[in-house]
Symmetry: C2
Subunit: 185 residues, 2 copies
């Protein structure tokens, strides 16, 4: 868990407070995934950070030198309702738009590939204290049609569903996945 210890203590005591302030987006998603795992709703994990190991002290089994590799896939993947689910979480620091430079070109290639194989794939974008589910297909369309370098806030309001922030799960993104990808089932 990547959120501060104080928050962890607070929520483990079941204090009802629907504003998970202090948890960043990654913390909210990790916490939601733990909830989904505990309640047997889905099995979704954050992938370990890809690193290149340069030096290991084998006597202590410790890494002494390593570097961070570029990500070529998305951070989270797993299985939900028998389907492959694969997504990325991004926080926008701008209040007016989400810069596409936040997404690595290799990640776009990855997205196109998995969509061809019928994956459920999307971005969870945090902007202005709101959380939007941006479908992978919509992201590709936006990149192909609009010649802009960022997605305006208004686009999210008009085209994306809002993900509710609550106590448990902290961020109920599978509820939105149900609405979008499992309509009428």
């Amino acid at each position: 868990m990547n959120y501060p210890l104080k928050q962890k203590e607070k929520y483990s005591k079941n204090v009802i407070d629907y504003r998970n302030r202090g948890m960043n987006l990654e913390g909210l998603i990790n916490s939601a995934n733990e909830y989904y795992l505990e309640t047997d709703k889905a099995v979704i994990y954050k992938k370990p950070t890809p690193i290149g190991i340069l030096d290991v002290d084998y006597s202590r089994n410790r890494i002494r030198d390593a570097y961070f590799k570029d990500k070529s896939t998305f951070d989270y993947n797993g299985v939900y309702r028998g389907k492959y689910i694969d997504f990325e979480a991004k926080e926008s620091h701008s209040k007016t738009s989400f810069p596409l430079a936040n997404i690595h070109p290799h990640q776009i290639e990855h997205l196109k590939r998995i969509l061809r194989h019928d994956a459920i794939s999307f971005l969870i974008v945090s902007i202005r204290d709101q959380f939007f589910l941006l479908k992978g297909e919509d992201l590709i369309d936006f990149i192909n049609s609009a010649k802009r370098k960022s997605i305006p806030y208004s686009y999210f309001l008009d085209n994306c569903e809002i993900i509710e922030e609550k106590l448990r799960p902290t961020l109920d993104y599978l509820k939105v996945v149900d609405r979008i990808y499992f309509k009428g089932e």
Copy 2:
């Protein structure tokens, strides 16, 4: 890629040699996954090794101290024919059996979980220079019924399909997946 440079050079020249000697099981699977990616057959990756980072030199963006975490999931996952696929590769150093101690209890929990969510999950076991696909369901059954600490070689011969080793893909495990999981489709 984790196989020696000499092998890499050899095979990039399209020399026909069906014995991929010198490549270990991980190398064979990584190479097969690259082939599946290039031919747009599936999108399957090896997960990065999970590590715990203790010290980072931020000025150089380098990890100065880290340790290896225990694996609680399987090494490979991705999407194939719209389904979630998740598996582990194991080499048995014994010629008579595959010791179950090779599989961490957390990995068994992970396997049970994803099978409940309709994942395709299995082990690729290398024993006596042969490669077997051991279905996750069969592994669970074996653990539950036989009170043995290892799976005898004869079990693989009687219950598992053999994965063919060739030039490209080096290890055609999806052919066996087709036979087992997509019968008659």
